[in-house]
Amino acid sequence: MNNMQLIANYVPGKSFFHRLHPSTKIIWVLGALLTVFFIKDPLIIFAFLVVVLVLIKASNTFATYRASLMLLLPIIFGLIFFQIVAPAFPKPWTPLARLGPFVLYNEGVYSALVLSLRIISVASFALLFIMTTYPGDLFTTMRMWGVPYEISFMVTTTIQLIPILQKEMNIILSAQRSRAMQASGFSALLPSIIPVFAGAIERVRQMSMTLESRAFGSSGKKTSIRQLKMGTLDYTLIILTIIALIGIFYLLWINQGFDRSQQMIFPAPAAIILFLGSIIGFFGILVLFARRIKN
């Protein structure tokens, strides 16, 4: 069943990361995002990625991480393909080989490496955060930061509803297939989608009445069942992170982001292999996903 992969990414545990305050982790994620987006050396980004992978391994979340990362693969393969033939660099580009209408460039291979490593690293770090943070704590933190209660409530409810509505959708698809509905194509669209929405509307009506009966939107001060406290460790880590970030940005600034696109020369066969590999990978993944959805 494909609703398995939709269960929240949170992995319960007691690792170092699990115990940190969400605020600390959010600052880390933002810091990592900024840093990685300004580094232009694939090797440094790769090193960063290795560190993240070690942390993921250490917090016992690797299995969930791998499954989530799979969803990124089609975009990564597409990215490699496009970058090799049309790099995100100002011209002139150095051609390495020619395949049909496509010219493969050295800068292309370079930027394919940088961009894909960047996305994977940021995604990995963000996943590490999500996998080790109980969603309820995330919302409590959001409220601590002044995000209105209603917003965090809506996000919680959304997360809760997604797997439920997916299940509902599966029932509806079976109900319509029992009436010999086509398995694919636009003719099956309304029979599949209208019942999901119509059912959801009844759900909204009853949910709003329930909320009203639970005093939702009362004027008084609200309290929270999840108690979160910033520890000394959290404060220390946040201060250290800010100092480290200042240092990193200073280094990045004086080194112009460690751009090594002119120094790194890739052999033509490597470019060809990477290029063809991305095409095979792209289609392979699409076929794999299509098959998984069918089952």
């Binding site: 597409g78 209603e150 409810t157 959304t158 509902e168 939107g217 299509a290």
Partner: protein
Amino acid sequence: MTTTEAKLVKRPRIPTTYIVALIPVAAALNIVGSTINAALRLPTFLDMIGTAVVAMTLGPWWGALAGLITNIGIAIIRNPVSLPFALCNMVGALVWGYGIRWKMGKSFGRLLILSMFVGFFVSLTAVPIYVLVFGGATGHFGDMLTATFVAMGQRLWVSVFSSNILVSFTDKIISTFVALAILGALPKELTSHLELVEQKNLKTVIWITLGIVVGIAALLFIMFTNIAG
């Protein structure tokens, strides 16, 4: 329920709790929409139908909130890299919401134009994200179209925009009319203030969409071959 319409004189107050319940449901439905899209193997996304429904009934900004929450939800349960696309979802909501407010829903033709506007602005927001962050890839079948344009000698962002707008037009026209069908099933309290055309047969809509998209695609190909030549 009886068929006789009680004329609703003034626009009723929609309870806050109703909004607070409707938005998460719409956000979840956006995601379900994309799963149905995949299950039926359609060449679209269908990931903004919930947003469209909220934007049309509650207004553009509530729609935008639904869009934002959708992407936060996806980020938490699936993958965080989709977060930047919250922007597209919000832009779509704004165009839909204001469009309906500015009486773009009154006739079939106007609604068609509104859907194309939505498609255009969503593409305009999405393409920079795709090009700058994802190197031009979308991870969707549309990438093959992009690749074709690149092979025809177009620059990457032109290719991405061209292929994206084709998918986007198809997607938004169909989403608009599916949303219209859904509004028919909504309680009257929510839809009584809207000036909307009657639901159209989806088959007609699909044929019209196909016509528009094939037309634009042909135009693009001619343009690109001429420029290249």
